[in-house]
Symmetry: C2
Subunit: 209 residues, 2 copies
Amino acid sequence: MLQLYFSPLACSLSSRIALMEAGLQARYRQVNLWTKTRVEDDGDFRAVAPKGAVPVLVLENGEHLTESAAVLQYIADLRPEAGLAPRFGDPDRYRLQEWLSFIGAEIHKAFLFPTFWYKDDGSLAKPRARITQTLSVPSAHLADREFLVGSRFTIADAHLAWALLLLRPAGVDIAQFPPIASYLERMQARPAVKEAIATEMALRKAVAA
Amino acid sequence: MLQLYFSPLACSLSSRIALMEAGLQARYRQVNLWTKTRVEDDGDFRAVAPKGAVPVLVLENGEHLTESAAVLQYIADLRPEAGLAPRFGDPDRYRLQEWLSFIGAEIHKAFLFPTFWYKDDGSLAKPRARITQTLSVPSAHLADREFLVGSRFTIADAHLAWALLLLRPAGVDIAQFPPIASYLERMQARPAVKEAIATEMALRKAVAA
């Protein structure tokens, strides 16, 4: 069985959403990212994943795959009939990769990461000044589209839904972008997305308590 | 003919390397990223690319593709016989995507971007404290490997070679990581890589002069 190392509401949530949308079973193994330990046995997470980051997908052959862009595409390709990624050879596959990169680099790494990890004002001033322009890109794209790529839900939506969800605790009011605010509502209404978020919200509250 | 919007020594250099390694002709159109103008006619670059970032690859059908991870895979797949990416269906394709994401998010967006764009000490302290750990990942991987993925040069190498090249002007001495220092030397010895870098170095000097 696949295993997913995750931390509640970290970017590994997109991989959980993808697994659930694909109807794939997995063992979910929680990590404390601050102490770099595995929650179930206090084991050293860096022994599992030298980068110390989630997601880590343990494949059926025991290999470990990291980085959301790769993990999400791997999951989508395991169950092509779920349509979570355009098939290879379809030009939209590159549009999918374009969005995965944009979300991972511009929203996650350039903004959410310094917000939640660096925290000090010096680290945050420049990313904060930039996030409105960053968000204008998906907002313009989604003004007349239901999904990021093509006409159905893909792993790019799983990733963007996660990123948008984190913007509120990061201090960004997405109501200033009506297309992405209503997009997030639509995504959150999907049963698999709703369940994935609820599961991690509950685990997150347990950690914070 | 393909067109590549680039700025000398910006991350679009990896796409130039990929095009040259693939033996693909392209028209290279220089952008001033600070003024967001096209060098050839002072035209508004944001009219071409709302993100205001390079690379932008103009495809044969006129569509614009952005984000290095997507542009590089598109270029590699145009000329599969060049072996610049494992073919779809090969498990190494996900390893390629894993490296593209790591380089794009952890080296480029988390370190090089704040170094060259934000510049102030407040923005740089945390990324600078983190870069050694970031670089330990490719360093460990390359200790006994010639290339990042499989046994030949891929677009992941094009992207990492670019990122490593920028570390010196960013104030990081990569000699502290012998595996990546010797890897960069090997990559720079490749004729296409050498020519791509020399071309952009000359253009960069012209801009700075």
